[in-house]
């Protein structure tokens, strides 16, 4: 069975590459035959036979384009992941060849977790519950009385207990009324202390109000048996001892809601970019790759072709010739190809690293500093008015 090897020219048709990623790209169609011709010559054709076919060169060229695309996009993902996490993975969100605008999404996402803890935002629902307070009983186990009943024993974390005294300002009455507490106490005694006795008013600074309210609260707490509680391991102790049955309200979160590391801001945003693996960077379009990139692709494609030829020639260490045998150069070709590939990838990665957002900002900053330094040496004109 004769196997046709490289004849020095080829005519590409769509479908002749293994994956067909770029087959429909007219630039690719034009370049792939030129690459085959060039690579064949660089490997020694027509002085020596090249045991490759046009399809071999096509496969190498396609792989070189894909490798370039992968290397550049790997870098893009590393550089942009902070700003892409949380965005949709849908096909309409293709970042290939696109400029990525930095945003605060991830920072805000982290800060929202802090917000959730203190009740000013976040993704964790603050729920409201209540227990019945019994006259004369101070101790209440919220796990037993509420978590077991309402959440099948799931852990809850109490955020707020509504067991407080009447706001101190109620006893302060109208801060604008400074004609004496006697009148105010008198009005309060009739149950309409919230209404301001329209007497004379003196405008006082706000801190005066705060100090007065604080004084009232301290008084209540220290000299009297103020409304308070202790809460340890969801075991609630009320102070003072309740003298009547009542309903005690509290706010809480279900701990698993907070600890759910997959929670998102709303249910429709479940399929979002999570990590390196699902950032929608696809194979580049060959026609958009500049000549700098295309030269890298050609050189990498040549290294791949050399490696492939080396593989073919090293399947048998020696090949029989009449009454003797000949040692093939497959191992040498493979070794050279490996070195060339490593060097090309290292060079590309180094170049990409030099264009990272961080490095460019550093360079920009340094350039600004140098410019300032330079401008500082420019003689200043003396203005004589």
């Amino acid at each position: 069975m004769a196997v046709t090897i490289w004849q020095g020219s080829s005519t590409f048709a769509s479908g002749q590459t293994p994956y067909g990623f770029y087959d429909s790209d007219s630039s690719f169609q034009s370049d792939v035959d030129k690459f085959a011709d060039w690579a064949g010559r660089r490997l020694g054709y027509p002085i020596v036979d090249i045991e490759l076919q046009s399809g071999s060169f096509y496969a190498c060229f396609e792989e070189a384009v894909s490798e370039y695309s992968a290397q550049v996009n790997q870098f893009n993902i590393r550089d942009n992941l902070l700003h892409l996490q949380g965005q949709s993975t849908g096909s309409s969100n293709d970042f290939t060849h696109k400029r990525i605008k930095p945003n605060l999404g991830n920072v805000v996402n982290i800060s929202q977790q802090y917000g959730a803890e203190v009740g000013v935002g976040g993704f964790v629902d603050w729920r409201k519950g209540s227990i019945d307070v019994v006259s004369g009983s101070q101790d209440y186990d919220l796990n037993e009385l509420y978590a077991s009943v309402s959440h099948s024993g799931e852990a809850i974390e109490i955020k707020k207990i509504f067991h407080e005294a009447v706001p101190a300002v109620n006893k302060y009455y109208d801060p604008y009324a400074t004609t004496g507490y006697g009148t105010a106490n008198f009005v309060e005694g009739f149950g309409f202390g919230d209404y301001s006795p329209a007497t004379s008013f003196v405008l006082m600074p706000v801190f005066e109000d705060l100090l007065r309210i604080q004084a009232i609260e301290f008084n209540e707490q220290i000299r009297k048996s103020q409304y308070s509680f202790s809460l340890i391991n969801n075991k609630l102790k009320l102070f003072p001892r309740p003298t009547a049955a009542a309903k005690l309200w509290f706010e809480y979160i279900v701990v698993s809601d907070r600890d759910n590391s997959q929670s998102t801001s709303y249910s429709g945003s479940a399929d979002v970019i999570s990590d390196y693996s699902n950032v929608p960077y696809d194979n580049m379009q060959y026609k958009f790759i500049n000549d700098v990139g295309k030269q890298w692709i050609r050189k990498f494609g040549l290294a791949l072709s050399k490696e492939l030829l080396g593989n073919i020639r090293s399947k048998f260490g020696t090949v029989p010739i009449p009454n003797s045998d000949v040692t093939m150069d497959g191992e040498t070709l493979r070794s050279e190809a490996t070195t060339e590939k490593e060097a090309l990838v290292a060079e590309l990665r180094e170049t990409l690293e030099q264009t990272s957002r961080r490095v460019m900002m550093e360079a920009d900053s340094e350039e600004g500093a140098r410019l300032q330094e330079k401008l500082g040496k420019v003689p200043l004109s003396i203005y004589i008015g």
Partner: protein, 161 residues
């Protein structure tokens, strides 16, 4: 039939490499080694024989066939005779069997080879280079020949004729 580890595709690869090295006169392709010989076979129709079947007036030869091969020639061996020094030399001519098949040629004992401005009479033919030990993958044909005098042939005009 190819062996388990040496398939037809591999054999075709060997063939390609061999023809690149040796050259392929059938397609006019020069080889890296490119040692070319011409094989002359007796033309049985043109050779006149006597009553005993002997070619007493000399043999007639078919047109020479251009073949590529590798050659291992021994050193010259000079022998002093009553008529002066005589030159002897032996050589092995190794042909790619597939090339012989391509050119529809069989190398036989008694055939002559022209190489290095001389003619060599084949006195032995060996086919014993089996790829992967497969007897149907005989790779080469080695013809052992000795240097012969031009005058003993009927190919070129010589002074003795």
């Amino acid at each position: 039939m190819a062996g388990r580890f040496i398939r037809n595709r591999d054999l075709a690869f060997f063939d390609t490499v061999n023809k690149e090295l040796l050259g392929d006169p059938k397609t006019g392709k020069d080889g890296v080694i490119d040692q070319i010989v011409h094989l002359y076979k007796v033309d049985a129709y043109e050779t006149e024989t006597n009553l005993y079947g002997e070619a007493s007036t000399g043999k007639s030869w078919s047109k020479g066939i251009k073949l590529a091969c590798t050659i291992e020639a021994e050193d010259f061996d000079f022998e002093q005779t009553d008529f002066g020094p005589d030159l002897n030399q032996n050589a092995s001519f190794n042909f790619l069997r597939q090339s012989l098949i391509d050119q529809d040629v069989v190398v036989d004992i008694g055939d002559y080879l022209e190489w290095n401005y001389a003619y060599w009479a084949i006195n032995a033919v060996n086919e014993n280079q089996l790829i992967g030990g497969q007897f149907d993958q005989n790779h080469s044909v080695t013809a052992t020949a000795y240097l012969t005098e031009i005058s003993s042939m009927n190919i070129e005009r010589t002074r003795s004729k």
